[in-house]
Symmetry: C2
Subunit: 695 residues, 2 copies
């Protein structure tokens, strides 16, 4: 895929320059230096030759066909240059020139036209504002970053061109191997989704690393990233995470969500490994690129120094993984081979004077032991330590079935060892906590790869009824669906809603109450009143007609005083629910990733403790249960101190039904069922109040 981009036979450089330091010169120079074996065609009206290559005044003068055009001339000439590339047969164009969307409206217009022109001609555009691309496997450096890393299995996409230079330098310093690297710039045409697809299919890429500041199309991203993660690991550093401003929201769900939570939910769903920083990104990439995935989370630690061994054990426990204990028989056999003072416990301490063979015996024991899923090998440079020999000996004894992370601590003394480790595809980290963090990322990804198939349940529902209610509201330009109609919608999606109805007078209210039976609750109906109980707009447990009348009159009096400008639609009278645990389930639609479901315990747990979880819709039963489990207050649902738990499956069902509702109706932009009252196992929860916003 994208053959013209990654494996061109001939490349034109429009804006090639004779002056070193100029972008147009660097690109030609990098193409030459990288050993590119195809034709390089520099275009410059005022030069005959650049770096020994024949230069053409324009592309029309070049007699051959080109596959790829690289454009580095002032903004106003880019369109014409692109046309000339396409005329000369280019299948792809890279625009390095900046000054488009990022500088304002006019630039955005030019960029848009450029992209449409390319698309219309079936040509792919990378950029503008791109640094270019590299493909080590075709010896192609079509960028103005001069370093060419050694060939390897990590491919990189970066939204920041500047970062590319740092990444290349980093790869070079660590002797890491790279496959392809693209600087996607303004993403006018080719974007992260395209390159995820390409890298997913690329046989030379085993690990995909990305740096992103934004995403072009959230839905597409989730789809593509999930498909990609299913075949190879994708790790992404998403920056700008805290920049999201607060947005006006009419629901709890809406006010608690944010762009960063949405990205988290999307990455989680798609199996994308999220890195929180630059080092973490490449720490992870190195591990995935060099080692097999672990089958479980039991980690053996081998060390020649007690302190760092304890640090590693701390890090393993803190990460949620387990410090493995060798089985008795293997521990006993190893113990016999090691000196008396050595420990075959946890961690395995091969002692400060350990020579390479002692490490090998310990590593072999850990490899053989079925109770060990992964191995961390720590070495400190002590008097007798032979870092390089130890690295080679360990590499030689590995069977390749369990991941091994090395941590050769120190600086110059261990450097020869670290070089050997990298040469033998053993990832090395300067501190135990970093080795463990990388292992943890592998464990998480391994679990995701082995997740059960996602089966989204479809409940039989009355979709037409909801269609009618929404259509009527939209016709009347009403964006808020009040409690009464919201509950009709929920009933249509087989939620259990208490019997009740609207009323516009005390008599009316009594009539409804008599019909549905006492005791009843009465709630104000007004699109302008969000926190009803704060305004005196909720009365509970009304036992008889007199109480209903009193409640109605008092409510109207209080609301008149407290919210004189609110538009009142009357009240909603309904039968009191039996008590139970109050939870909140809801949805907010993220501008990027669409519907995000929320779950939290009701009241202060949501409002004060912010103890909520989000998940992209559509959701499966397993995922809904995971949402419940990942709240801090989960123990309250399961039951604590002799109190019975609630029906977890019933809450999961509720989340799935909301998922179906908001997937069926994209008009719904926010909704809360709050409280959703849940009882013991086997009971049907009640949607006691609901609020739906449509657009």
């Amino acid at each position: 895929m994208l053959e013209s981009l990654f494996s061109p036979k001939s490349i034109a450089v429009i804006g090639a320059s004779r002056s070193p330091g100029k972008v147009g010169h660097e690109v030609v120079s990098n193409l030459v230096k990288s050993g590119f074996e195809g034709d390089i065609v520099p275009i410059n009206p005022s030069a005959d030759e650049i770096l020994g290559l024949k230069c053409y005044p324009d592309l029309k003068s070049y007699p051959g066909k080109i596959d790829l055009g690289v454009i580095a001339i002032p903004t106003r000439f880019v369109r014409a240059a692109t046309e000339s590339c396409i005329a000369a047969g280019a299948g792809a164009v890279v625009v390095i020139t900046a000054g488009f969307k990022e500088v304002g409206k006019e630039g955005a217009r030019l960029e848009d036209e450029l992209a449409r022109y390319c698309t219309a001609h079936g040509v792919r555009l990378m950029g503008p504002n791109s640094l270019g691309l590299l493909n080590t496997h075709t010896k192609l450096n079509a960028s103005f970053a001069s370093r060419m890393p050694k060939a390897g299995n990590i491919s990189v996409l970066s939204q920041s061109g500047a970062l590319v230079t740092a990444i290349l330098d980093w790869f070079a310093a660590r002797q890491l191997g790279m496959g392809k690297m693209v600087s996607i710039g303004n993403k006018a045409d080719l974007n992260e989704n395209d390159f995820l697809r390409v890298f997913a299919e690329d046989e030379k890429t085993d690990v995909i690393v990305g740096y992103l500041e934004s995403i072009i199309d959230g839905d597409e991203f989730v789809r593509v990233a999930e498909a990609t993660s299913s075949v190879k690991p994708v790790m992404i550093l998403k920056s700008g995470t805290t920049q999201a401003g607060t947005k006006a929201a009419s629901s709890h769900t809406g006010s608690l969500a944010g762009a960063d939570i949405a990205y988290g939910a999307a990455f989680h769903r798609a199996g994308v490994i999220r890195a929180e920083g630059f080092e973490e990104l490449f720490d992870y990439a190195t591990a995935f690129a060099m080692q097999p995935l672990p089958r479980g989370n039991r980690v053996a630690i081998i060390t020649n120094a007690g302190g760092p061994g304890i640090m590693a054990a701390d890090a393993v426990e803190n990460s949620g993984m387990q410090v493995a204990i060798l089985s008795n028989s293997i521990a006993t056999a190893l113990k016999k081979k090691l000196p008396d003072a050595a420990s075959v416990g946890n961690p395995i301490d091969v002692l400060g004077d350990a020579e390479p063979n002692r490490y090998v015996m310990a590593v072999n024991a850990a490899q053989e032991d079925d109770g060990v899923d992964a191995i961390v090998v720590i070495l400190t440079p002590q008097a007798m330590t032979l870092p390089a020999e130890t690295a080679r000996a360990i590499a030689k004894c590995l069977q390749g079935k369990k991941p091994v992370m090395a941590c050769f601590m120190g600086g110059e003394d261990v450097m020869p060892g670290r070089d050997e480790l990298v040469a033998h595809n053993l990832p090395d980290y300067p501190a135990p906590e970093r080795a463990v963090a990388a292992l943890k990322a592998m464990c998480g990804y391994s679990a995701w790869r082995n997740r059960p198939p996602r089966i989204v349940t479809r409940f039989p529902v009355n979709r037409h009824k909801v269609e009618r209610i929404i259509a009527r509201h939209l016709r009347m330009q009403l964006n808020q669906i009040g409690e009464g109609k919201a509950k009709e919608i929920l009933r249509a999606y087989t939620f259990n809603v208490p019997p009740g109805g609207p009323a516009v007078s005390a008599e009316d209210a009594i009539e409804v109450a008599e019909r549905i039976g006492y005791p009843v609750a009465m709630k104000i109906s007004s699109p302008d009143i969000l926190h009803k109980s704060d305004m005196g707009g909720v009365k509970l447990n009304l036992p008889r007609a007199g109480a209903v009348r009193d409640a109605y009159d008092l409510m109207m009096l209080r609301i008149g005083q407290r919210a004189p400008d609110a538009h009142l639609e009357g009240v909603y009278v309904e039968r009191m629910c039996s008590p139970g645990r109050e939870v909140i389930i809801g949805m907010t639609r993220d501008p990027q990733f669409g519907p995000m479901l929320m779950f939290g315990l009701g009241g202060i747990f949501v409002e004060v403790m912010k103890d909520v979880t989000f998940h992209l819709a559509p959701i499966t039963h397993d995922e809904a249960i995971q949402m419940l489990e990942s709240t801090r207050s989960f123990a309250l649902l399961k039951g604590v101190r002799g109190q019975a738990g609630v029906d977890l499956n019933a809450i999961a069902d509720g989340l799935q039904r909301i998922s179906q509702l908001v997937t069926d109706f994209p008009q719904i932009v926010e909704m809360d069922i709050n409280p959703f009252i849940v009882g013991p196992v086997g009971t049907n929860p009640v949607a006691a109040d609901a609020r739906i916003t449509i657009k």
Copy 2:
């Protein structure tokens, strides 16, 4: 201080050896190589000369006096060697030999005897199981680690000898300067507290770094560390944090505390900066060693690449610091000097082609701006970038009033720049998040240094009464003080306790109730029943005599069924408290650090959400308020959604009174006041239930 250790004029090496690789050889060799200018006296019965130095068969044969003895001979000869060192005038002895406390009981006995022998002779002992020590300022390397770092202002103490080798190697690779380094080994005599004291007074030490696995004396540590932190920063990596097993506890406070929480509380109190990992430890040390403390938390970010700038801004916001915005006048002036496309916003983007002078202009603007407390400078290696020149130019323009952290990202291309940075005392980090984390540590320490004076309030109390109650319980070998007596203790410490009294029959209970007035609560009194309400041992709101009788009889029936073996002391009857917010305040005595006060919201907030904070006693009013503020549920106390808040000062008072009580009575090992019922501002909270354990 410890002159004989750090500045000896002559050193005997007992166990000096001619064989390279042997510890006794390495120590002599390191002394020679380090350029030590005093006398080196190798002791070995079977050698005449080692490395050109005259060797003596024993110390008696050496005619001179020695200041320091370094011992590296088999365990069983160590005692005699120590004696000979002391006879030869040594003021300090370093025992490198292992095989003492760490191998078992007999070793512990030998070690203890050795320490007592030294103390009796007024000689300080470091070790056994020490790697030795270094002092770059006296060119002293009396260790078997061969690297001697360059002289500097960071002094290091390490409980792990093996880690010392990695630390030395790390310092060497990063060209970091070290002052003194000690490997404290088994800490038979000299321990962390001694060296904190020495480093605090040492004019050549500006920053103290420690690696600890345990602490000898918690109280002493807190005292010494607080005094030390008040003059220079102390940062410690404490490992083994997750190893603490669960301990049996009879209170909520006890069951929620643990060794790691106690260390956290102790470090917090003492102003010790806690590092969570090896890299973090030295990232912090580098920042403190090279840069001044910030006055506030507003951080300016200067970058030649957008992406890393955003990463840094994310890290600043996530850390709780603020991204500074340049003042209008300074921003406008800077904007004029920079190219059009540059941004003087947040971060300041000097663009990819920035030459050194552009960085200087931006740094100067940030230095001048009163709204900036600290500066992070990011550089990526782009085509026009001059890392070394930029580093030098920045170093030259610094006024030294605000801390500057550099982040030169990449590998080989930026290396010349990184070398220049270190040479100019500018800390450099490979990724923005690490630079920001170091800055955050400086901010936190700076705030601690400027904390208000600690004034512990003494409340007028009836101490004798408590003395009598505790003495009586101890005489009767009762460790649990029941609710009635516990409340008498609280009353003596001026807590507000509802009126009430014990009863052993229904008639008794009615009599108490009539005396104190209805409604009353009744609770079972039994040392064997911890969760009274779970057992049917609590009845509330009893309005009249009949209800009291029913409650008594039913309670006895239920307890008889549910806890047939419990020893019952009757019931406790008391007047019902007015409702309010239920919180829990308590104390548990940590084996290391003594009384730790706890605060949390009652019920599920403590039991399920574990939303509690701890603080070492004695506590000040400010610290007690900080405890409240640092719970996640603090908003509930302050008041949310129109609900009035509670009297925060009254809770703080309660914590201070517990603090006074447990400081006055070390016999109290655990206590809970649960619930402590708090009302609106101006009301007096009620200690509704209490439990005290003594020993």
